[in-house]
Symmetry: C2
Amino acid sequence: MTVAIGIDLGGTELRAAVVGADGGVLAHARTATAALEGPEAVIAQMADLVGRIAPGHAVIGVGIGSPGPLDAAAGVVVQASTLHGWDDVPLAALAEARLGLPVRIDNDANVAALAEWRFGAGRGLRHMVYVTVSTGIGGGVIIDGKLLHGRGSLAAEIGHMAITDTPIRCSCGALGCWEALAAGPALGQRATETGCWGPVTARDVSRLAEAGDATAARLLAEEARWLGIGFANLLHLYAPEMIVVGGGVSECLPAMRADIEAVIRRQAMPAYRDVPIVAAALGHRAGVIGAALLALP
Amino acid sequence: MTVAIGIDLGGTELRAAVVGADGGVLAHARTATAALEGPEAVIAQMADLVGRIAPGHAVIGVGIGSPGPLDAAAGVVVQASTLHGWDDVPLAALAEARLGLPVRIDNDANVAALAEWRFGAGRGLRHMVYVTVSTGIGGGVIIDGKLLHGRGSLAAEIGHMAITDTPIRCSCGALGCWEALAAGPALGQRATETGCWGPVTARDVSRLAEAGDATAARLLAEEARWLGIGFANLLHLYAPEMIVVGGGVSECLPAMRADIEAVIRRQAMPAYRDVPIVAAALGHRAGVIGAALLALP
């Protein structure tokens, strides 16, 4: 069977897997990313992981999902804020030289979108938007069965769409970005600021709401409102057949569904209202599977 | 020379032109749209215009730019709020039967985007966003040299992207849409509400600002701020190489340029800041030229 290796380059963890053309994971390995030691050290880690999982498989190539912005066509990581010293790194060329296999790269959210579209929640669709809501908000957009890249692969930076004019500063420096309002830390901070529980995370809020806490339920409703406004925007901008939601905050999706749907009914024109908002199906594996898809035919 | 006929179906005016493969207009005609008389009457008007301009030309097909939402692939106008009785009209099929020529349709903003990309301000680019700012805000997005359509041609409804949480009601019923804040009527209304001049339009404000009126200059700066926020969002969402701005309000672009650029510097991440924001080059002709492009090879 034709197989490729997918590498998920995260700021904390580096994962690699041998992935078949059917999306099956045949072997996998992982290690803590040497995030402070620069690109050469991390590429050496990749070679080590590949050396552990590749033997016995007819590997045709390697795909790497990396933090961005990055230029997928050029194979260059322009900047990776979670990795020290990663500025304008020709990752594809460096990894090819080290691994002796063809290497393609794309950003982590695009790669997860690709995996969810081919083997996950979005199977069989022509147009799909993937949104990951965790410490930030990232996205990947499939149009006519292809990833939307735009100039220098800079498209679908959906977390940095401004949706409010209240002066909330985003990590990117701008005001009112969706990410600044709706990513996990924003929910956690609003929860902490209530003073009810000390420092809490998005997941804690979800659990408290499930247990019947009214303040937590109110916080989740507010989170749902911000998510719903962003989702409604994505419906008008990309016209997907489905929005697939991954990342840690997506675990709160069931508790927020009714509120999100109410916002979409209010904010979206009728033709857009029936588009399903669905939880991602592949979890963490989306990273390695989608990366491998870059190298599979 | 290969030629096609482009028809620009507006709520006020119906225009038709014979257009060459080089974008040149070889003949044209227009009439007031029978907007209250239903689709059959308007299609009869199209046949009349075509009968006046087609003779002597080897016409290979007809393209129609229409208000939307419409399904370009199906050739159906789903709804056209400026035309009475246009709901689920199979315009392509009806016009083909009447004109005896192959007919393709697309929405008016998409068609204008196509014209500006092929023969106007965006010539030679791979990725371009066209924004028309007049009584509403519409858009057309070119990615890899192709129009972005999405599900049922519903993509790029950029005017209905929410950018504020102040409760400003849009004509679509939602709150905080870009169109509700930055289209011509919004600027005109803010100007009228100052009480300085009685009822005024966006164009009046621009002229007053040019003549040195401080209140008008402040209003234009506010308009520039709303436009800039929307443009910055479009840069992150679609990653175009250029934003081309058409529609009446684009005439105020020179007076607003500095303020728009300041907003983009503040709201856009560094990789997006140098994308040119350029006035459309083809004016009203974009409608017929882009429509003809639907039928040209």
